[in-house]
């Protein structure tokens, strides 16, 4: 009892004897412990009340009946009608597909454009202080409002009279390119700009683990740049790629506010559809059903992405 209730038993001996860095997390020791439960209670109460219960309720309500005039907007009668309606709703599926494509493009583009950035920061900047400073510089926009960034993207940069069109005009393009503002294209480009940091950050941390001398050794042993990349760098980068892809896929699929700003009223995403069902028609059950399908798509996507690397082992 005395051992199990002590908050910090010494790190397992074998680890230390091997010279592993002693850490505050103890792996490989089992035992419930009263303290673990006590520490866990407040967090999981909050998570249960504000995360798990709401998610469970989305699923429940999606199987309940819509009732006009009811204060909550639904009656607790089980039905499959919401899903049947959705499966016949072509607009919903078109939007789902567009949203899915947007997310796929965002993941691919963020990987392609973000990799050199992470590679540069992690492996080409030698001085640690410079590395941190440059990383913070790249990371700073993450702390600013996505709504503000979307507004900045839409009007001053992309719109009919935006910066890009101004430059194009100087270059001799007479007509402003309409497709840059309030369009699916603009939304897709903006997604790259808004979310690329979610790829650069995990990639940076993953690539920082690469032993630089291993790269040099590989080159000295006659490996080409390509084979060095494939054999030495890529395996280390893979967990970062997977984590970044999950982030971007999930966050862009669920986007709502930015799509509304950047797309104007012309582009809809799954988020705006759910919103329109809920806000305009107070169609909670159908909104929930579409939300459930969105989550199903997310889970499927994350499952596919995680096949590329054994995350639990890497973490």
């Amino acid at each position: 009892m005395s051992n199990s209730s002590s908050p910090d038993p010494p790190t397992s001996g074998s680890e230390r004897a091997l010279g592993a860095r002693p850490t505050g997390r103890q792996k490989g020791r089992r035992g419930g412990g009263v303290m673990t439960v006590v520490w866990g209670i407040p967090g999981y109460l909050w998570l249960g009340f504000f995360l798990v219960a709401p998610l469970v309720f989305i699923v429940l309500v999606s199987f309940w009946t819509y009732e006009q005039g009811a204060q909550s907007g639904f009656r607790e009668d089980w039905t499959l009608q919401n899903y049947i309606d959705l499966f016949g709703d072509d607009t919903y599926w078109n939007n789902m597909l567009t949203s899915f494509m947007t997310s796929l493009i965002a993941v691919a583009a963020c990987l392609v454009f973000g990799f050199p950035v992470a590679y540069f920061l992690a492996l080409k900047v030698q001085n640690l202080r410079n590395q941190i400073a440059l990383f913070i510089l790249a990371l700073a926009p993450f702390w600013t409002s996505f709504l503000t960034r979307s507004i900045a993207w839409t009007y001053p940069l992309m719109g009919r009279e935006g910066g890009v069109n101004q430059i194009l005009r100087k270059l001799g393009v007479d007509e402003p390119v309409e497709a840059l503002g309030f369009s699916t294209l603009s939304v897709r480009l903006a997604m790259i700009q808004l979310y690329i940091l979610f790829m650069v950050t995990p990639l940076f941390f993953a690539l920082s683990q690469v032993d630089r001398s291993a790269i040099e050794a590989a080159r000295d042993l006659g490996g080409s740049w390509l084979s060095t990349f494939r054999e030495v760098i890529l395996p280390q980068a893979m967990p970062g790629v997977v984590i970044g892809s999950i982030f971007i896929f999930v966050l862009t699929m669920g986007e709502y506010g930015t799509v509304r700003v950047i797309g104007g009223n012309t582009v809809s995403s799954v988020g705006t559809i759910v919103q329109s069902k809920v806000e305009i028609g107070i169609q909670y059950p159908q909104g929930s059903a579409s939300a459930v399908l969105l989550v199903a798509a997310l889970v499927l996507g994350v499952f596919v992405i995680t096949r590329f690397s054994n995350l639990r082992e890497e973490l």
Partner: protein
């Protein structure tokens, strides 16, 4: 490559190789600059447009003269068409709710990470629940919260519900920060304190907390900034358009009542957020440097005699542990 590789162990050869111009590095550096330009360009253009004259519009060309008119209208409600009053109320609301969310995130992230310091049965499921908070789209979380609360028949509001949803968004970030802190943390310090006679509570207060407070503060910062900027998680709980600053901005945008003062506001909030982050980094660096200086002698001893001291002592510790 071929000649220098012949004597790879000689320090001279590696030095000579370093001196060669690393073209890849400079090309990547150029790319990095372009990347930063891509990231910052919209904000910079927005900032520039916020300094337009009274006839300034939302897009180019810049309608001069350069004035602080739109910035002034943020604070001064006597400027025609000024939203100063609403912005003031919304800003104060946002500030309080962000501080509250930050404090709750810091507390919960810390307690959760304390639970995870030891492996327990079901810890991987528990870990995935926290990651679920990261994965759930904000808008869906808000929808679910609304459904849940309407079922409980409790009216929603920013303080009751949006706060809860925003804390959910902050918890995984704070939690991951704390995990990183514990990964670098040396349990031997706590053991030493206990061996020297400090009881559990005193060890926690005087040894553990001072060592990990930067992580706790980082969690607070994440919770506060994420909430300060949130729109998706709050919009469904909006009662007044002045409930939070992003809701005010969103309201102005979607009703088409958007003017360059919105640009000034966006630039101002961005600068505020960034300066808070920079300030935090400065404080942490200074604190770490100070602490590093004070423990430098210890570290020097460890570096010099670590091999001799560490070996046997560690095995001894292993023995006592096994019992």
């Amino acid at each position: 490559m071929s000649t220098t590789a012949a004597t790879p162990t000689s320090p001279r050869s590696t030095r000579r190789r370093r001196k060669r111009i690393d073209w890849a590095k400079w090309i990547l550096a150029l790319y990095f600059v372009l990347f930063l330009a891509f990231l910052y360009m919209p904000m910079i253009l927005m900032g520039v447009l916020s300094f337009q004259g009274p006839f300034g519009g939302l897009t180019w060309p810049f309608r001069g003269p350069v004035t602080l008119n739109w910035w002034k209208s943020l604070f001064d409600s006597s400027v025609p068409g000024s939203q100063a009053e609403n912005i003031g109320i919304a800003g104060r609301n946002s500030l309080w709710i962000s501080l509250a969310a930050g404090a709750i995130v810091a507390l919960l992230a810390f307690t959760l990470s304390m639970a995870f310091r030891r492996n327990f049965r079901g810890s991987s499921v528990a870990f995935y629940v926290i990651m679920l908070a990261l994965m759930t789209p904000g808008f869906l979380l808000a929808l679910g919260t609304q459904l849940f609360w309407s079922f409980l028949d409790v009216p929603t509001s920013i303080w009751r519900t949006a706060l809860g949803a925003n804390v959910i968004w902050g918890i995984p970030f704070g939690f991951l920060i704390m995990l990183a802190v514990w990964n670098r943390y040396d349990n031997a310090i706590e053991e030493a304190a206990r061996d020297l006679g400090a009881n559990k509570r005193r060890t926690f207060r005087e040894v553990t907390l001072p060592l990990v407070w930067t992580g706790i503060f980082g969690a607070f910062l994440f919770g506060a900034t994420l909430t300060w900027n949130d729109y998706d998680r709050s919009i469904l709980f909006q009662v007044n358009s002045t409930d939070t600053l992003p809701l005010t901005i969103g309201g102005l945008t979607f009703t088409g009542a958007i003017r360059p003062d919105l640009y000034a506001l966006g630039t101002a909030t961005t600068l505020a957020t960034v300066s808070v982050v920079v300030l935090f980094l400065l404080i942490t660096t200074i604190v770490l440097k100070f602490r590093g200086a004070s423990s430098a002698p210890v570290r020097r001893v460890e570096e010099e005699f670590g091999e001799e001291l560490g070996g046997p002592m560690r095995i001894e510790a292993a023995d006592t542990d096994e019992r």
